[in-house]
Assembly symmetry: C2
Homo-oligomer: 347 residues x 2
């Protein structure tokens, strides 16, 4: 990994170095805004068939890199692979998002198996091996998982929710059982991320999409602490493993996150105050982000200004250009091209 990292701009930034041209990739870059993805998705049958057929998942992973020349490919998959690998039923209804059997009792939590089902995760590792063979040496391959808190919000409610109230209430009513769920998800995440590294990813990102709904004490207990342990345990198995954290929407608590979780970079949502980030975050770790995905939809002056603001705010130190959240399906391809060109020309 270390020999290769010198040739991959993204890994060089994760090692704490500034790249003159910031490496660029986009969250959810393998997705519905791409016509070739929509075509592949139509061929695959269900969303899960696409995730668990290595050739198709590899193809989805490679599509945006081929089209835009991004500096990283991110494995096409879903954060709900972990509950699926723990025996929970998961499905994706068209236009409705994920559906799971709700996990509603301490007994159901205690009954979760200790390890991931190999038949669920092996196809993911195989997709990684396939992508690895196809990727240019300068392009980093990223794996990922959801953070235990965010994964638990779906497991408990059985679906996506506007305010994550079911998991928040469960954690208030049953803190011990909820703590056991965090432990179980943390071990499963370690197993999963280590498996991804062994299959060939260069770095991983831990997505805590719903971290922003918790009070500070609960954020420390349910977000910082499990992710801190995941990072340490992954590095015990994979020395020097490069890890990006994305506690989305946590605002002022970003500082506590980077002080306690030894990530190599933190991904920024589009609402953070740049002065705060420069003073409290970028002084400790590399940062990634944070164009408003709607500025990319809007295009024109709004897009140019957003790109310039991110470069001006963070470009003087180790920085990976990205969006502040996943790319939206309605994003015009021409706007993505314009963005990539502007980032690379500005340097």
């Amino acid at each position: 990994m270390n020999a290769a990292s010198t040739r991959k701009p993204l890994l060089n930034v994760l090692a704490g170095n500034r790249e003159p041209v910031p490496p660029i990739w986009l969250m959810r870059q393998a997705g519905r805004y791409l016509p070739e993805y929509r075509e592949l998705r139509a061929r695959a049958g269900s969303f899960l068939d696409l995730c668990f057929t290595p050739e198709l998942a590899a193809e989805a992973t490679l599509q945006p890199v081929r089209r835009f020349g991004f500096d990283a490919a991110i494995l096409f998959s879903d954060i709900l692979v972990v509950p699926y690998g723990l025996g929970r039923r998961v499905s994706f209804e068209a236009g409705e998002g994920p559906r799971l059997d709700p996990l509603e009792t301490p007994a159901a939590i205690a009954a979760l198996p200790p390890r991931l089902d190999p038949s669920v995760v092996e196809p993911v590792y195989e997709a990684i091996r396939l992508v690895r063979c196809e990727l240019a040496p300068s392009v980093a391959l990223l794996g990922f998982c959801g953070a235990p808190w965010t994964v638990a919000t779906y497991m408990i409610a059985g679906r996506g929710t506007a305010d994550q109230a079911p998991a928040r209430l469960f954690a208030y009513h049953e803190p011990e059982a909820f703590g056991r769920l965090m432990d179980r998800l943390a071990s499963a995440s370690v197993e999963y991320l280590v498996g991804q590294f062994r299959a060939g990813v260069d770095a991983v990102q831990i997505f805590d999409t719903w971290a922003g709904v918790l009070p500070a004490a609960e954020f420390a207990r349910w977000c910082i602490e499990p992710v801190r342990r995941i990072v340490a345990a992954v590095r015990a198995e994979v020395p020097g493993a490069k890890i990006i954290g994305f506690p989305r929407g946590v605002g002022t608590s970003l500082a506590a996150y980077v002080e306690n979780v030894a990530v190599d970079a933190v991904s920024l949502d589009w609402t953070v105050d740049p002065g705060f980030v420069r003073d409290r975050i970028q002084s400790r770790v590399a940062v990634q982000g944070n164009l408003d995905p709607l500025a990319l939809v809007a295009g024109g002056t709004a897009l140019d200004r957003g790109v310039d603001a991110a470069l001006a705010s963070y470009g003087e130190r180790p920085f990976i250009f990205n969006l502040g959240h996943g790319i939206l399906p309605e994003t015009p391809l021409a706007h993505v091209e314009r963005m990539v060109e502007r980032v690379r020309r500005a340097a």
Copy 2:
């Protein structure tokens, strides 16, 4: 106003003084969690009939103060009174939230009238006068309005939206027209708040519920700047007017808000980092908040811990106890009683 303020704990805090027992009220305290409110609402007909019938609005305003002995009454009304007073059609569908004629073009913005329709706002002022007569001298009466950005998110989309994307996109595509909408809403808000003060409120709160979805530059332009002008213009008409700002969910940008908007207090959502607030916010202005509304639903240990955390974090300096957002309809009354008792006993 100044003579009375010495007897109202809430106004004393807004004047920059610590009260040994922090004054307490709850956002949306006149609402569906109260059986007497549900009964009144059933009698009133529509939600707007309740808002615009002074006797009924006054009664809704007084109900929670009678039941719980809160230190403030907040006018029962809605932030969409302003667009309604500007001639936009507004209705509330049961279980679906507000519906408005979407405001979709620069021409429609230019056609907004210069002043609020007196037949819309006079009943609100009359409700204030009625409440004023009924209220004990120690209880503060609060008026309010929505901040221009938040009101615009409803006016442009014609409804509540998950991500405020219609207004965000409009502002990216048509910044000049959107700026004129902000100007119009800012003047209407000044007119409305001054009218509320003249009718008898002791202080007002400006709710910027959706401030947290904007990048820093847009937050400065569409939230900070219009609210800064509203505060200054209201004080030009009502010297010493006490004003609480609530830019919800803005995290790290709270510092920029209090540095630029001369509010007397800032209301905190439940996700802020207490250390950041003590260092950067409470050193400048009084704070209000910030119990997680779901901790109040949960009750028990979760509630006690949440109350204690807020008191420990902010109680040593000027502080108003409140929730971090509106009280939820499913909140048990016994939990509200327990919370009030714990806040008052802790002092």
